[in-house]
């Protein structure tokens, strides 16, 4: 049986050694840094408290470790190489250098990590939304390693452009799209307020009509266009067909009239929904 005093002495000696040893650790803003000595994990508050990044730390007492300098890439790489690598795509920034990401290959992740879910990635120093990255999972946290240079950058650009144009998840379609990309896109849209398309569409129509002095009654999405039932200030009801230009290639926040509901001598498309209200009320076109 192990002599408990001997064991305690060993730990005490290791702890004493720790006080004079510098260690490398990742640190999130406002977080703490950890190192392991004799199988025991020691947690320190970094000094400066707001440091974020990879650093070389020196313990000053049992609670605090001072940042000596930022760690070099070869050191960081050596640290990260101890952990399994995972390919992810960035969904959106949670705060500072912490991002939410989604696995590039669900089956691979399920096989290796027994789970498939969005992952919080820390110290993401590069990359923009939807970009593919390599990260390392240490069993507790996921740490950014690098932007994946093998990935096709046009995929991230396509997803970004679709998000900018507020393309609904169900309409997202391009060459080489994968189910994972669709899930990732859905994840990214969820944090955009009012992205849920029907509500957003309704809001846009309501605002456009309101600016012109009209009021939305109801509308229906017909795919390429909407049919909009609306009422002028004198209470007259109209039905117009409107296409949201911003869904097409031209990223312009505009609501072009396809069919106004009255005769505009084939000039329906010269009007947007807002100006149409004036046209309907005053017939001045």
């Amino acid at each position: 049986m192990t002599d408990i005093r001997k064991l305690l002495n060993q730990i005490a000696s290791a702890e004493a050694h720790l006080q004079s040893t510098q260690f490398l650790a990742p640190c999130v803003k406002g977080g703490r840094v950890r190192t392991r000595v004799a199988g025991m994990v020691y947690t320190f508050t970094p000094k400066p408290r707001q440091f974020e990044g990879w650093g070389i730390f020196q313990p000053v007492d049992e609670q605090t470790a001072t940042l000596v300098e930022g760690a070099d890439l070869p050191h960081i790489a050596a640290y990260l190489q101890q952990f399994p690598s995972v390919r992810l795509r960035l969904a959106y920034r949670l705060q500072n250098q912490t991002w939410l990401a989604y696995p590039m290959n669900e089956a691979d992740m399920r096989q290796r990590f027994k789970t498939v879910k969005p992952v919080v990635v820390h110290l993401t120093t590069e990359g923009v939304g939807f970009e593919q990255i390599l990260a390392r999972w240490n069993g507790n946290s996921c740490w950014f390693e690098e932007v994946d240079r093998r990935a096709d950058p046009t995929i991230a650009e396509t997803l970004q452009s679709n998000l900018k144009q507020l393309t609904p998840v169900e309409e997202l379609q391009f060459k080489r799209i994968t189910p994972e990309m669709r899930s990732l896109y859905k994840l990214a849209t969820q944090q955009i307020e009012g992205f849920a398309q029907p509500q957003r569409d309704e809001k846009r129509l309501r605002q456009a009509l309101k600016l012109g002095g009209g009021e939305l009654h109801q509308f229906q999405d017909r795919g390429d266009y909407w049919t909009v039932d609306w009422i002028t200030s004198d209470g007259t009801r109209h039905t117009s067909a409107v296409t949201p230009v911003m869904r097409s290639i031209i990223a312009k926040d505009d609501l072009t009239v396809v069919s106004s509901g009255i005769c505009l001598s084939g000039r329906d498309r010269d009007f947007d929904l807002q100006s149409l209200v004036g046209v309907m009320e005053h017939r001045e076109w």
């Binding site: 890439l73 070869p74 790489a77 590069e126 690098e146």
Partner: protein
Amino acid sequence: MSIFFHEQLYRTDEIMAKLKEFPVTICGAGALGANLAENLARAGFGKLKVIDRDRIEERNLSTQPYYRSDVGAFKAKILANNLYRAIGTKVEAATKELTATNAAQLLKESRLIVDVFDNSASRQAVRDYADHTGIPCLHAGLSADYAEVIWNDVYRVPSDVNDDVCNYPLARNLVMLTVAVACEVIVSFVATGEQRHFTITLKDLSVQFLNL
């Protein structure tokens, strides 16, 4: 088989072993410096140091091996990171301005200094340090369609008239040609100790050996 396999077949094992252990400091990580560092690292140099205080700007991307996403970062740091990621060579990066005061501290471990700075003040500091210590120093420089690769003993620091860091003509092909010539001069110096001088003109695609 190493990643330097083809170089090894061309240069011999003996020379490759020399290149790996020969400490070279490159002063400047701009058009010449960054491409030269990349060439030397990929040719098998294992002890490289790069000194440059500048940050990457958009206009650098046509002649320097950086990415759009690198704009704003320190050139030396990004260069070191890129080469480590690419081939595993650990390049030491110093993001400081080299002056007469700190030249000794920054250059002390070099057995060869390569001056590819873009301003005459820093070039002068490197030249004076090399003169004073006797450490071999190669200067490579560009001007419109002319370039030169000259060793310290016959090198003259250009006037500061062309030190405008924004507005000057610079052809990528001249940069790459000069980098290739300088790199070959460096390899042959490490292999044989010979110090060869060259001039290069882009318009007539001429590389001229100078017997100075």
